[in-house]
Symmetry: C2
């Protein structure tokens, strides 16, 4: 493995054009750190520009997105060269020189650099060999192998020349026959994957998605109410945009939440209406808290229109019980609130006997004709589950009970962006319609899915156990999803140190973790948390082979951190 790294390194040279990738940022920093009065310099620059920070879209400025925020940027900045190695290791770093960042921006210039950063600029080395990106649910970045059948079909639709009869004999040595048949079926229904498709998504694929939902739930699904999207995020953004009339529109979001929701609400100038998940009840929902949250918002004149739920939860990992879901549907029905159900982790369920996944569509339909008019939008994605095809940007949402004239408008907005990328659509087809028992690809498909699932389950448990051994840390088991959200009880001195640094205490903790271990997680303050509590989110996606070292490093860091700041 090391040999491989060395070869890769020797191939990499800082040529003038490579340097340019990084140079502008370095130049800016060099210049500005030598300025005595930085804010006046920035103002001068800003004023000379037609569009500057002061007069640009104010809603964009309000957006916060911690998953790719300061921590992630600093983690990037610690990587000189990004290697992804198919094998047991992750990113490997050469620490001769510091490349500030691949980003056009970086850590705020007036932030004092942390210890490891200073050492590095002085030519020393970091106390770790590997940056582990546990900040984002990005399985294939951390070496999860893609599902073979899915990639085989994708490669065949890309290159239809392979399917010509004269290649058939050769092709059958490289591809199973069902991958070839599926590619032919898709091309028959799509035509060229290089053409814009129907703006709502390819009809054939929407039909397959509807059948998938029917098999999953046991209730009918209507392809004309399904919209294929560029990942679930794009779908959530579309729907929130449609729901928003102005700043008086309130959207209920869980605390903790996935910051896509707060970011999108800020972007469209709506009002977030937070409701708390109950950490002591495995992050379940208490309908009383929902009622008090909506009551408070309405008392302030907020027109609360929608309730966002992430199930299985992100960052909290809970799988809602059916009884709890009944209560939630009932609440929305009574309060006249549209339910937005983010169900992208529906196959990431690790206690299937006690806490299986139920879709809100199924629960709703099971509740009978009283709820026939209920408005629900359910989101799904190819980025999660055992598929993990984040780079495709594929997903869908199903609209239940929406006003047909609102559906028209959703379609119109989709058509302005022409269509979701066809490759992402094809991955949705494959995810919802995988090889079946008896087909040639089924054994490999089944073994791959099963292998990933079992490994995720082991890793979830292993990491929760690791966190629970740490002083002052408690962590619920992950019933689902890809994350743990441990609570850390931080000494008073950390809170004082955080005040001095102008940061949140959990940011101080996570930055110290990154600098000591190379493990990048996201502070709980990026997701929201009950006041006076501190958490962080970590995926359990690092390769299993790394877990012993990974956990030992975290434990050692935590011990030293607590010793340093002990009251």
């Amino acid at each position: 493995m090391l040999g491989h790294v060395k070869i890769a390194l020797s191939k990499f040279r800082i040529t003038p054009s490579t340097a340019r990738l990084f140079a502008p940022r370095l130049a800016t920093r060099t210049k500005t750190t030598h300025q005595a009065n930085m804010s006046s310099v920035n103002q001068a620059t800003a004023q000379s520009k037609v569009i500057n920070y002061e007069n640009m879209n104010p809603h964009i400025k309000r957006v916060e997105y911690a998953v790719r925020g300061e921590l992630a940027i600093r983690a990037d900045s610690l990587k000189q060269v990004r290697f992804i190695i198919i094998g047991p290791s992750c990113f490997t770093i050469d620490v001769r020189i510091l490349i500030d960042s691949l980003h056009p921006f970086s850590i705020p210039l007036n932030t004092p650099p942390p210890a490891a950063y200073q050492e590095l600029t002085q030519g020393d080395t970091l106390p770790f060999k590997t940056i582990i990106n546990s900040n984002i649910g990005n399985p294939q970045q951390l070496n999860q192998k893609p599902i073979t059948f899915f990639r085989q079909v994708a490669s065949l639709v890309d290159n239809p020349d392979l399917l010509s009869p004269e290649n058939r004999e050769l092709l059958l040595k490289l591809y199973p026959s069902d991958a070839i048949e599926r590619a032919e079926l898709l091309l028959h229904n799509i035509g060229s994957i290089g053409a814009y498709s129907h703006s709502q998504g390819i009809p054939h694929i929407r039909q397959n998605v509807a059948r998938f939902i029917e098999r999953r739930d046991g209730y009918p699904a209507d392809p004309s109410k399904i919209f294929l999207t560029q990942g679930a995020s794009a779908g959530v953004q579309n729907i929130l945009q449609v729901l928003t009339e102005g700043p008086s529109t309130g959207i209920m979001i869980p605390i903790p939440q996935y910051p896509l929701y707060s970011a999108t609400i800020a972007l469209f100038n709506a009002t977030p209406v937070p409701y708390s998940l109950d950490e002591s009840q495995d992050w379940g929902l208490d309908p009383k808290k929902l009622a008090s949250s909506i009551g408070q918002a309405r008392a302030k004149g907020v027109d609360v229109r929608a309730l966002c739920i992430i199930n299985p939860g992100n960052p909290t990992g809970q799988c809602l019980s059916e009884a709890n879901m009944h209560e939630i549907v009932d609440f929305c029905h009574r309060e006249r609130v549209v339910l937005l159900a983010d169900e992208v982790y529906q196959t990431n369920v690790y206690q299937p006997a006690q806490r299986p996944f139920h879709s809100f569509k199924k629960v709703l339909r099971s509740m009978g004709p009283t709820y026939a008019d209920f408005e629900l939008v359910s989101f799904h994605s190819v980025s999660k589950g055992m598929v993990g095809e984040c780079g495709r940007r594929g997903g869908y949402f199903e609209c239940t009970g929406l006003d047909p004239r609102v559906l028209e408008q959703i379609y119109k907005i989709a058509s302005v962006s022409l269509c979701p990328n066809v490759h992402g659509q094809i991955m949705v087809d494959l995810m919802t319609n995988p090889p079946q028992e008896g087909q040639p690809s089924y054994p490999v498909y089944h073994a791959e899915v099963h292998g990933i699932y079992e490994s995720l389950r082991r890793r979830a448990k292993r990491l929760a156990d690791c966190f629970n051994t740490m002083e002052g840390v408690t962590c619920n088991d992950a019933q689902g999803a890809m994350y743990l959200f441990p609570r850390v009880r931080l000494p008073r001195k950390v809170i004082e140190e955080a005040k001095r640094q102008g940061r949140q205490p959990d940011e101080v903790y996570c930055l110290a973790m990154l600098d000591a271990t190379g493990v990048c997680v996201v502070p709980g303050s990026g997701f929201g948390q009950e006041e006076g509590t501190w958490h962080f989110r970590s995926t359990f996606l690092p390769p299993e082979g790394l877990f012993d070292g990974f956990c030992a490093a975290l434990e050692e860091f935590h011990r030293e951190f607590m010793n340093k700041y002990r009251d």
Copy 2:
């Protein structure tokens, strides 16, 4: 070919689940056409819904997008089944029954159905055999063959198993060595294409884009100022969103314009500031008109911040002269306006000696240090040119002279959507870095690009000639892009008929054309046009083999239409 169609038809059956694809729309129509008072019915439905047409986002309701508007929807509705056939024919229709639409909505319910539509519902047949979608620049929908090398590389990165040493011998029988090398290089730099990439785009690809721009323009380009996007449309939407502070923000757009611009401006609640292109000067820009347009807007208190230019033009096909581009840069500089240059048709240039393509970046840089601070954003796409990979949703924009703090915010917004789809990014790499002379794939690549280009040039000329022979029609030659925008002088009786129907006269003309010929074009009113003039936009993308029939049908339709309505 016909044999092929028959096989396809026989494979297609209206099963219950197929029918569901189409059924809801039909059901709605059936129900509502039997209602005496439709508006009260719609209101009742709307009021029972939490989110309804009345209280949804008002900016979305204002959006118009004619390219996929009523005409396109009706064209879809005339296709029972959508076949894309790799070969000389396009869509072929079986006209036994009418499927209303694949869309969740359709022609407004109170619109009287046109003649052909009525015939069809009565079991008669349409007067044509083929729907030709000339409404949208979607080359591969109309059988343009993708570039072989691009698809080969795309299929290899999809299926890295193919690249393992034990497959090499077989692989070399199916792939040229340079496609294999390129795929290996991309994978080495990307890792898995199933992982989220850097939100701004894969650094290796941004670097290649920068080199492409440098070779094209002869001036430096900075990868840290390049953002890869999901097609140029997504980039335009991002930038317009960033520029908009509120309804007082004015964005200058050409008339005629591509409706992405007006739609996006409506969506973000900014104010369009139209300026006219001069049809008598080959759709060039008159700086005096720019000055009068900005003056009028500013007199009304509009804060005009940006000027959008499409060059080569859509729908107008002009290539701006270098002198004209100097005037435009000068205007923006003097008036403190950001220039947004939509250059997606930069290789669709059909009079390269008289009217070559110049990028605004190059023209700007050639104007020297006075313009060093000039703010320019340039857009490009993989959907146009000889690439025509619309389904990938790939593109980029390059920012020149923007405030670094505004760049930070552009990055932040990109990060909320995680990343542009990696397949689209790879196509950007291939487009900007194609096979070079001496490489194994070069001869095929060169022949394919040259063949598509020469054919487009012939088709542009052939269709313009066809339009120019028609009574009362004048059409500028396409200097570039994929469209013609002929002017039609319509008799007074058409204008009266249009008033009766509550439509624009050019809509009446285009609907009649669709019903008579199966050719779907877009009325000029969807793009904007000088008052009292009528146009339509037609691509010249239909396969060359269809052109004789296509032109003859258009000529016959026009003759009959003019005879019917002659004053």
